[in-house]
């Protein structure tokens, strides 16, 4: 018996796909009507092994799509649960930005993804949710994806003198780097706050 994510487990949101299926289908239709070509691809839960619909959006319209998802009451995804990135190395569009959204009114979730090549810049979603600030800094630190119009794009988890981006697939697990002195206070950053 080879079960996978498509098998509903009653004690871990088992009936989620059935419960929200119609809502998701109607929302995806609405998105396609509103944004047309900006929605590159949609993967729905039962055909594709995922738990929520994945909406692939073109890089330039991500802010518009997320704003609509947040503000329009027919979507109602008012909470950004997570913002991260995945390195799909053999693909030409190497990085996939992942936005997990949660709705406080219907309690359903959706995933929005943006595919970028190495060196391309993604517009920042800080105008929609302020909390994206540090999450995008972490994506920059770990993957090297840069963001357009980000107020403060610098490393967050690693030391500022670190070279390389650790979570990329080509960075070794044991790529140690040693620093002789503690990080100094950055007065420019302090003045900018």
């Amino acid at each position: 018996m080879d079960t996978d994510i498509r098998t509903p487990i009653p004690t871990v949101y088992g009936d989620q796909t059935k419960k929200f299926h119609d809502v998701w289908v109607s929302q995806v239709e609405l998105l396609k009507q509103k944004f047309g070509n900006a929605i590159e691809e949609v993967r729905m839960p039962v055909e594709y092994p995922t738990d929520v619909p994945i909406v692939y959006v073109a890089k330039d319209s991500i802010v518009a799509v997320l704003s609509a998802l947040r503000n329009d009451p027919s979507f109602g995804y008012n909470f950004l649960a997570d913002l991260s990135c995945t390195d799909e190395t053999p693909n030409e569009k190497r990085f996939e930005m992942v936005y997990q959204l949660f709705s406080h009114s219907r309690f359903n979730r959706i995933r929005v993804k943006v595919r970028v090549r190495e060196g391309e810049k993604v517009p920042t979603v800080i105008p929609v949710w302020i909390s994206a600030n540090w999450a995008e800094r972490e994506v920059y630190d770990m993957f090297g994806v840069e963001f357009l119009n980000h107020p403060d794009l610098r490393r967050i988890l690693m030391d500022h003198r670190w070279e390389g981006h650790p979570l990329r697939k080509d960075y070794p697990l044991r790529g140690y780097q040693v620093f002789p002195s503690p990080e100094p206070i950055d007065l420019d950053v302090l003045e900018r706050q």
Partner: protein, 424 residues
């Protein structure tokens, strides 16, 4: 008005001692009419600090005692768990999950097990689910006890901490009976649990829960009506509801501001539909509200614990799915197939079918989420951990802007930052 700026000795603006080569000649603006200009100081509330929970650093420009501008730094305990998630099998990763929120390690373990089981479509038996619920509620209680204890210690109320810590030690004894370790438990397995609870464990948990309810009432009497505590926490570090939504607050911090979301009730998993509990919500969003919510949540969790201890029955704790079932030791040591199965399981790992899922649960701090992308291999392709403290720590700078340094301590204590979750 006399110009006293000529009489006040000028502080030398040599910034080379901060280690900034090439920026030695920067002069901060000097306003001769501003009497307080010379009392602005740049303070490094460094990674080695008693009030900084774990290793967190904040650079603040203070005017007397008021914080005018600040920025926070972390990453001093970055242990690269997401990279390790790509280099260890799913079974080997269980050990790393309990070092995330180390105050409530059992919640992390169980959430991770739920996440991988969801990807595989594996269902665990009833007793396992009740035990998981009991462990998670116990972990929630001890996490809240530490949070309010440390918040009190930071503001000088040391005895309060000792009351809570003694109950935590009693809980440690129970957890040690269950799985052998006090803090970093690694108790859950994919498809089951490490070992069944010993005889009579549920009854001892009930006794502990009832005793802790009495202790919580004592602690409540000690601190809640105390004038000093009220003066320091009521109205301190207020974060209103709209800002909480903007900053991604979840858990007790969000409920303190009026956001009535609890994933145990709104996105129910396990058997949370079958137990009765209330979800406390407050309105003001200040440190006192968060403290009261955590206190009330301890009581609710203890009630859930007592209900679970009554409903649990004997039974198997392992799912019989052949992919995840670790063979019993008698089978391993006496049969050839058992030994080969055991060897393959622990050396290569089982394969998780391709797919991706974001599994979240209401941890003690907020929404703990595991976003796992699998390509059909024994190791994950991407193991993303959504730690609630990361999103809460971002709000600390706006929370304390324009407030006193003492309010910084109150704020940090009330939003329960665990450095293990921020840095992962």
């Amino acid at each position: 008005m006399t110009d006293i700026s000529k009489e006040v000795p000028k502080i030398p603006r040599d910034l080379s001692r901060f280690g900034l080569p090439g920026k030695i000649d920067i002069q901060l603006e000097h306003d001769p009419d501003d009497l307080w200009d010379e009392s602005r100081m740049i303070v490094n509330i460094g990674p080695t600090h008693p009030a900084m929970h774990g290793a967190l650093r904040m650079m603040a420009k203070v005017n007397g005692e008021i914080i005018e501008k600040s920025y926070s730094e972390f990453g001093y305990t970055h242990r690269a768990k997401e990279k390790l998630g790509e280099n260890r099998t799913y079974h080997q990763f269980i050990v790393y999950t309990d070092r995330l929120n180390y105050c409530s390690a059992l919640i992390n373990n169980m959430t991770y097990a739920m996440a991988v089981e969801r990807l595989m479509g594996v269902e665990v038996p009833t007793r396992c689910i009740w035990l998981r619920m009991m462990c998670m509620e116990m972990a929630r209680v001890i996490d809240h006890l530490i949070c309010i204890g440390i918040a009190a210690v930071d503001m000088g109320a040391f005895t309060y901490f000792l009351y809570g810590f003694h109950q935590r030690e009693e809980a440690y004894t129970l957890i040690e009976k269950l799985c052998g370790a006090r803090l970093t438990t690694s108790y859950s397995r994919i498809g089951g649990l490490m070992h069944d609870a010993p005889e009579g464990w549920e009854k001892e948990v009930k006794v502990w829960a009832k005793r802790t309810l009495a202790v919580i009432d004592e602690m409540d009497q000690l601190l809640t009506g105390n004038k000093i505590w009220l003066k320091r926490t009521v109205g301190a570090s207020v974060f209103p509801k709209e800002k909480c939504l903007e900053y991604g607050f979840t858990g007790p911090n969000a409920r303190g501001a009026g956001i009535d979301i609890d994933l145990r009730r709104d996105q129910p998993v396990l058997f949370y539909k079958d137990v009765e509990f209330d979800v406390p919500v407050a309105q003001n969003g200040d440190a006192f509200d968060r403290y009261m919510i955590r206190l009330e949540e301890i009581r609710q969790s203890l009630n859930i614990l007592i209900q679970c201890a009554d409903k649990i029955k004997k039974g198997p704790i392992w799912s019989e799915d052949k992919r995840v079932r670790i063979p019993e030791k008698e089978v391993v040591f006496n049969t050839m197939e058992g030994m080969i199965h055991h060897f393959k399981f622990f050396m290569t790992g089982f394969e998780v079918p391709p797919g991706e899922a974001y599994t979240s649960f209401e941890a003690a701090n907020g929404e703990l989420g595991f976003y796992i992308v699998s390509k059909g291999e024994p190791r994950a392709h991407r193991m993303r951990i959504r730690g609630p403290s990361f999103w809460h720590y971002q709000a600390l700078d706006p929370m304390v802007k324009g407030k006193y340094l003492g309010d910084l301590v109150a704020a940090l204590g009330s939003i329960n930052i665990i450095a293990g979750e921020i840095d992962r």
